[in-house]
């Protein structure tokens, strides 16, 4: 269920786009209306979601410390893993976001007979990193469709990405990497029994969807060779807010575009929001200076306590009997 439903949903989405273009000729709907709508949902949804998190305060300063605290001057503190300054937090967050620091710690824990053994387990980290970085580079490459003149930096990124110099058009390594990484992430989900046990449809759907997007992109670039100038006419048209549907752009482009639209619209309502959430994580983005600087809880309220007076009232005789000082004789 959790695998089949999202799988067929993605197939179904492909068919919708195919039928919409080939049979119903809804080019305006799929080429203009849906992309605009999806983009709007994405931007607004993302902002609202982050704002919604931002609305809930952080009542306590609860960093997870992963190294030595700053205490006595002669004890070497771990300034990044246990940051005691804003700078430390920035580096910690940068390592987390750019290089998945915590995932790099991953271990495989197993029982061998009666022994707990720890093996290295860097594949998830590697696949995660490969996936996210190639995704990013691919997104950057697509800027070509939204810029009149192609800036040098972009050409450089493209050049590097095509460094293998195979095929015509040149093969981008990120295209291969992303397909490989997504495949790995899927296979591990079904191959590891525990992971399969916890996986939900919401975990498979984005994998299938992104695989679909990448695959349709690859087909478009290397096999069907869609009319690039036509595509750029459309994308530049979006920007000018007066888009026109170009002639002769194959249906594969519309499938690609529709899947991207679905991804954008789905994004803010899904776990994909971890992209925004990671920045807000209170166990990572706070300084461990708790005993140096007081943290204020905005919703703090007074509570019932048991005062010393009440305590002495109850135990005065017993206290006096063993010579403990009391406030009231």
């Amino acid at each position: 269920m959790h695998i089949a439903v999202p799988f067929f949903t993605v197939i179904f989405l492909v068919l919708i786009a195919y039928a919409g273009i080939e049979a119903a000729h809804l080019h305006v709907l799929f080429g203009i209306v849906i992309p605009y709508a999806a983009f709007t949902v994405f931007v607004l949804g993302f902002i609202l979601r982050v704002r919604n998190w931002g609305r809930s305060p952080v009542p306590f300063r609860i960093p997870t410390t992963c190294g030595q605290q700053k205490s006595l001057p002669w004890i070497k503190a771990s300034t990044v893993e246990n940051p005691s300054s804003t700078f430390g937090v920035i580096v910690r967050m940068a390592l987390e976001i750019l290089f998945f620091r915590s995932l790099f710690r991953n271990l495989k824990t197993e029982m061998h007979e009666d022994r707990v053994v720890y093996g290295s387990a860097k594949w998830l980290w590697l696949a995660g990193l490969a996936f996210h970085w190639s995704f990013l580079i691919i997104v950057i490459r697509h800027f070509r469709f939204f810029l009149g003149d192609i800036p040098f930096v972009l050409e450089m990124v493209e050049g590097l990405d095509a460094f293998l110099q195979i095929g015509a058009p040149l093969l981008y390594t990120t295209d291969i990497i992303i397909l490989g990484a997504v495949t790995y992430l899927f296979l591990r989900r079904v191959a590891i029994p525990q992971l399969k046990y916890i996986s939900l449809a919401a975990d498979y759907f984005p994998l299938f969807l992104i695989f679909g997007i990448a695959l349709s992109g690859v087909l478009m670039r290397y096999f069907f060779k869609v009319h690039v100038v036509g595509v750029k006419t459309l994308t530049m048209g979006w920007l000018s807010l007066s888009p026109v549907i170009p002639e002769n752009v194959g249906v594969i482009f519309y499938i690609h575009l529709f899947l991207i639209s679905v991804l954008l619209a789905y994004f803010p309502f899904s776990k994909l929001m971890h992209v925004g959430g990671v920045f807000l994580s209170p166990t990572r983005n706070l300084i461990n200076n708790n005993r140096m600087k007081r943290h204020v809880n905005p919703w703090d309220y007074p509570v019932h306590v048991h005062t010393y007076e009440e305590y002495e009232e109850e135990f005065r005789d017993k206290m006096k009997s063993v010579g403990l000082p009391v406030e009231k004789e």
């Binding site: 809930s56 998945f100 710690r105 007081r294 703090d300 403990l324």
Partner: protein
């Protein structure tokens, strides 16, 4: 009480997930893996709702009417109050990196003890009532209704999480299952679903100042016993004070150390150290507990119990506070106390009267950890130490979850240990420091009726000890936590019987050469010192 299986049997962990999906597999409350229900009288003392005697093994948990509404209302409230709660429910990608990092999963093989699935038990309910996707997609979207079975499942599994935060170290977003467990326990407390082992100490601590319910005269007489022993060992008469106004320092430590071995030896260590330094300090019978079982019920209760520390410091007019060896006590002092009851502007920035060191790292809270204090003494050469008195010990050191991952107090205790002992061996790297394993019995799970669960949860830690025991002949496990001293002892007796448990300041007490002491022949346990075995 359920019979505890043999270690060989318990070590055979079955990791195969059940055939049925987790939503269709109701919790099976296995005897030996859960605690008794809270008693009415203990809940009444602190005005907790739905106070009644109840038994988790019975079908009827005597819940209040409309309990679902109570839980959902509380959930809405906490979502608006804790960013951690809301964010962590929203952004988990179920990558599974946390899955095999939990000692309870390693020890039980039960998939619901994977941190990710533990959270999912609650997340599924959150999705159903608070997210559109959950409302629309239902089970397919990972959402489910809050039913009696779900509640029982929560009760079972959120009392199988010790809030140790090991999962949070490995999660790429820092998702801390402890935050989820804290909330789940808050909700369950609103229905009166606490455990006896937690609510008893809470009620004691509220009225008597400490978990064990020691009354003032009992505290002083317990300490008298220690003083007699110290005199027997060293020939020195130590005379601590209690509730003394005008002392420079207030000393607060967990009450467990006044009560049972081997914690009592740690308490003797403190008494000897402070005496030797001539420290102007006092104990308090009112603030006689540094620990806080309230934290295992609700944030509010935790705040209520920790009130007494600053209040007593203020009443007595001390300059600052030293806190003894304890794990969760220190997470709360470090990450919560100042926020709850600060600013402590009536206190001064701690300054060691012996070395003159100013503890800048505690300039706001004004509480110093005793190993910070002692490490500074040793570094400045203020103690005469004879580590050979600990030569019969081959030590390893267990980082408490809370001091390691909620503070980063890693080197101070190690520095002290290295100076008071000659034989110190670290456990494997993946089981210490920020990756340390829970003793298996934190957050009020240290009862006796759930011993099987405790031993399962204690397995990874014990296994690492066993490793250094076999490799280096380690025979003593040091730690800085009163709960550890009790729970690790049970866990060692079960898994690695040849290894004992000690607090760090017991080791200090043994190694420290005191002014005017007689020649020592016994250690703090009244056992012969190395080389003195034949002179009995």
């Amino acid at each position: 009480m359920a019979k505890l299986p043999k270690p060989e049997e318990l070590a055979k962990v079955d990791f195969k997930p059940p055939k049925t999906g987790w939503m269709d597999t109701p919790a099976n409350l296995k005897p030996g893996t859960f605690c008794w229900g809270a008693k009415a009288k203990n809940l009444q003392v602190v005005d907790f709702p739905n106070a009644r005697d109840w038994n988790p093994t019975e079908d009827d948990w005597k819940l209040p009417k409309e309990w679902e509404g109570t839980v959902l209302e509380a959930m809405a409230d906490r979502l608006s109050k804790y960013r951690s709660f809301k964010l962590f429910l929203d952004i988990c990608v179920r990558c599974g990196a946390c899955a095999d990092k939990c000692h309870f999963f390693i020890g039980t093989g039960d998939p619901k003890n994977m941190p990710v699935l533990r959270t999912e038990l609650l997340r599924s309910v959150y999705k159903k009532y608070f997210t559109n996707s959950g409302k629309v997609l239902g089970k397919l979207g990972g959402a489910r209704e809050l039913t009696y079975d779900v509640l029982k499942e929560w009760w079972y599994y959120f009392y199988q999480c010790t809030e140790c935060r090991r999962c949070s170290v490995f999660c790429p977003y820092g998702i801390d299952t402890a935050e989820i467990t804290l909330m789940a326990r808050e909700f369950m407390n609103l229905l009166g679903l606490n455990t006896d082992w937690i609510s008893g100490p809470v009620s004691n601590c509220y009225t008597k100042g400490n978990h064990l319910g020691l009354e003032p005269h009992t505290i002083t007489s317990s300490v008298e016993f220690f003083l007699d022993d110290i005199e027997t060992i060293t020939g020195i008469k130590v005379e601590p004070t209690f509730n003394r106004k005008g002392a420079e320092i207030l000393f607060v430590t967990p009450s467990g150390d006044l009560f049972a071995d081997p914690g009592t030896y740690t308490a003797m260590g403190y008494l000897m150290l402070f005496h030797e330094l001539g420290l102007d300090y006092t104990w308090s019978t009112y603030a006689s507990e540094g620990g806080n079982f309230g934290f295992f019920t609700s944030n509010e209760m935790a705040k209520r119990l920790h009130y007494k520390i600053y209040a007593e410091a203020k009443r007595l007019g001390v300059k600052y506070i030293i806190g003894g060896e304890c794990g969760h006590m220190w997470r709360l002092i470090h990450q919560y106390l100042d926020t709850w009851h600060g600013p402590a502007d009536f206190l001064e920035v701690p300054r060691s009267p012996v070395t003159g060191t100013v503890f800048e790292n505690a300039c706001s809270t004004k509480m110093v950890h005793v190993t910070e204090f002692t490490a500074d003494l040793i570094k400045n050469g203020k103690l005469t130490l004879d580590p050979s008195r600990n030569d019969h010990l081959k030590l390893t050191y267990h980082d408490s979850c809370n001091t390691a991952r909620g503070m980063g107090l890693l080197e101070e205790p190690r520095y002290v240990i290295r100076n008071v002992c000659n034989h110190f061996y670290e456990m494997p790297e993946n089981t210490i420091r920020e990756k340390t394993f829970c003793c298996g019995s934190g957050t009020g799970l240290n009862a006796s009726e759930n011993m099987e669960l405790r031993m399962q949860g204690g397995l990874p830690r014990a296994n690492a000890v066993k490793h250094v025991h076999e490799k280096y002949g380690v025979n003593m496990l040091a730690n800085i936590c009163a709960i550890d001293r009790a729970t690790l002892k049970a866990s060692m007796d079960y898994w690695v019987p040849a290894v004992g448990v000690t607090g760090v300041h017991e080791l200090v007490g043994n190694a420290m050469v005191m002014t005017g002491e007689k020649e020592r022949t016994q250690d703090l346990r009244l056992e012969p010192l190395p080389g003195e075995e034949g002179n009995e």
